[in-house]
Amino acid sequence: MDNKSVYLDNNATTALAQEVLEAMLPYLREQFYNPSSSYPEAKGPRDAIEAARESVARLLGAGAKSEILFTSGATEANNAALWGVLRANPDRRHIVTTQVEHPAVLEVTKELERNGYRVTRLGVDRDGTLDKVELLQAIEKDTAIVSIMHGNNETGVIFPIAELSRIVKAVDSKVVFHTDATQTVGKIPLNLTKGLPDVDILTLSAHKLHGPKGTGAMFVRRGVRWRPWLIGGHQERSRRAGTENVAGIVGLGVAARLAMHNFVQETRLKLLRDKLEAAILEAIPNVFVNGQNAERLPNTTSFAFEYVEGESILLALSDAGICASSGSACTSGSLDPSHVLKAMHIPFSAAHGSLRISTSRYTTEAEVQRLIDVLPGIISSLRRISPYWDNETNAPRADVDVFVQEKYR
């Protein structure tokens, strides 16, 4: 793990920005006070939290900073969003979501089913996009909440949440629209007042935008019926109990400000992504980009290499000093192909060879070039030992379809 490592796993976590780290330091040293204390010194941390709230509100284009509350991360925020809406609307027992959500939403909906709620999970097509008519039809009389992520963590596919939330509100204005925007906040501009007026709750994480781990935030639009999840303290105006992680919140505030200044990087990252994809598709046979035809995040590419194991690619890349991921950090370790690729009907033989590359504003062209240089060699050597691959023709075996017995369960 030397300084020469190429870090291309920014959808899992990002390095702290230097400015963020420096801004956090005083709150780990002399400004350690509990923000709830009454003596004058505690005003420092208290004001710092409010300044961070203002920065996050601005990044999101929220109407008022009181609509922002801080949590320990996006996972907690997602749990709080879903449970909080259901608790506040006890007569409504139905939830609409998608099959490709992050586990922090997916697992909550499973838990809700165990508690007697009904859940409709919308599927996606081969490009990873949703069918709007299906969404329209999914809303029932007692639907409490529609939870649809903004940017997918594995494929980078962006859902048109402005339009989707408008559809939901048109059917029933009382349905709460939640979006997990963990992967989009800070990467693409968004505005909850002008662009996304029908989004009621938005959740985000600091450590995906060069902020610290242990901090996330929730936008809850004024007037939305919602009840707090962690209780037993007046913090965050009694909407989230627990002593505030001051340094973490300050870090998120600075990360938000930096992100606003760096939206200009979007074009550069997109060009870098396109260059990478073109080079790999050109140099390597039997590979495609998941969700290539959909609108996608500028920093994310999900490759599917047929007839190789994603895990083997990662190990080889790691030996070459390159950090990447097979799908999401939260599901790696499991041998099943990701639920996202499964929902997209990516063939088993290709989904197994998935590789996610996620860049950040600190990624250089030279780093991406290093990946372009080593990847073809890695894939071809792995295929040489693959039972599905014919080395004579440098193509899959003619009888590969018969040979590949594995299917999705």
Binding site: T13, L16, S36, Y39, W229
Partner: protein
């Protein structure tokens, strides 16, 4: 700030802990990524910390689950055990002087059909083991009793309660946030669930733990689910630098305990003596023998608590009326329910100051506080 005497609300980070955190913060560790070195290193860091926290309470590393705060851990212990064991019964026993992060979840369970008994303390802020055990019924699934009260400093008979409950029946949860690093923790040996907080033991904010002993084989039902981190008990990317800091902080707290306690005990006596001398009729809450040294709760006479705390604040002496968790920094302080529960009048409760002594407290700090009090009297006379 010239004297920080509010180590109950939060503690400054120990410089050694801070140094470790800064090293960890320099790299993008996501401990849940298995296939590259940053991920593997992150996992290693949090496992080292898990071992350190486990050692402090005589638990196995696998029994320690990270949560983002003690409030989260208390919410998890109460709600997670209640919902996980509701088939066995819907009755909970706790005390009237628990932290709000235990009391609020208990109150919220009422709506879900649970019954909760809140055992009252005696006038020294101690609930008797007998009254807790008497409140236990056949359908009791959880008993939650804090180790040390955060307002009074009174020590609860947790070990006796554990012995009385035995190995079957309700689980015992103990919020040990104010005990860790302050008194030896062997009394937690037979407690099933333990809440610990980093920022009360000279570690950073943003890390805490729920220790769940495995011998009963019962885990709380998670209240935050997702990526399956912490074996599904608390999901979300672990705050690696904070957890690393917490681990070291717990280790240091255990190592420093003996030396620190004698120093703090001497300073606490001096503070108590000085206030009683300056303000005759003032008394310290709790009773020697069943109270920790580092929490000095003084009900003062002859001057209002508010006046005194304001004067201390102006002079740069940090102390509190009640606890940080019971009021916002800006709003008027409500009399502490814990002080009312031990029989103080509302007026007395409002005139009760809480001083929290700690690792970095010096005699100069105590003298600074006493100086302000003496000066105030001089001016008002």
């Amino acid at each position: 700030m010239s004297a920080y005497l509010d180590n109950i609300s939060t503690t400054p980070i120990d410089p050694m802990v801070r140094d470790l955190m800064f090293q960890v913060m320099a790299k993008p560790h996501n401990p849940h990524v298995s296939y590259h070195p940053f991920g593997a290193k992150g996992a290693e860091i949090i496992e080292v910390a898990r071992g350190q926290v486990a050692a402090a309470v005589g638990a196995k590393a696998g029994e320690v689950f990270w949560t983002p705060s003690a409030t989260a851990a208390n919410n998890l212990a109460v709600q997670g055990i209640a919902f996980g064991r509701q088939k066995k019964g819907r009755h909970i026993v706790t005390t009237a002087i628990e932290h709000p992060s235990v009391l609020e979840p208990c109150r919220s369970l009422k709506a879900a059909g649970f019954e909760v008994d809140y055992v009252a303390p005696d006038r020294f802020g101690v609930v008797s083991a007998e009254s807790v055990l008497n409140a236990v019924r056949d359908d009791t699934i959880l008993v939650s009793v804090m180790a040390v009260n955060n307002v009074i400093g009174s020590i609860q008979p947790v070990q006796e309660i554990a012995a009385g409950l035995g190995k079957k029946g309700p689980l015992l949860h103990c919020d040990a946030v104010q005990a860790a690093g302050k008194i030896p923790l062997d009394f937690l040996a037979d407690v099933d669930l333990i809440t610990l907080s980093s920022h009360k033991v000279y570690g950073p904010l943003g890390a805490a733990a729920l220790v769940v002993r495995s011998k009963r084989g019962i885990l709380p039902r998670p209240i935050v689910v997702g990526g399956g981190q912490e074996e599904g008990i608390w999901a979300g990317t672990v705050n690696v630098p904070a957890v690393a800091g917490f681990g070291l902080a717990m280790e240091l707290a255990s190592a420093n305990l003996e030396g620190e306690s004698s120093k703090i005990s001497a300073l606490a006596s001096e503070l108590e003596r000085g206030i009683k001398e300056a303000l005759p009729g003032s008394f310290r809450n709790g009773r020697a023998g069943t109270r920790v040294d580092h929490i000095v709760s003084m009900t003062v006479q002859g001057v209002s608590g508010e006046t005194l705390i304001a004067a201390l604040g102006r002079a740069g002496v940090a102390a509190s009326v009640g606890s940080a968790c019971s009021g916002t920094g800006s709003g008027p302080a409500q009399p502490s329910y814990a002080l009312l529960a031990i029989g103080l009048t509302r007026q007395q409760a409002r005139s009760t100051l809480r001083f929290g002594l700690g690792r970095f407290t010096t005699l100069d700090d105590i003298n600074a506080a006493l100086h302000v009090i003496n000066n105030l009297l001089f001016i008002s006379k």
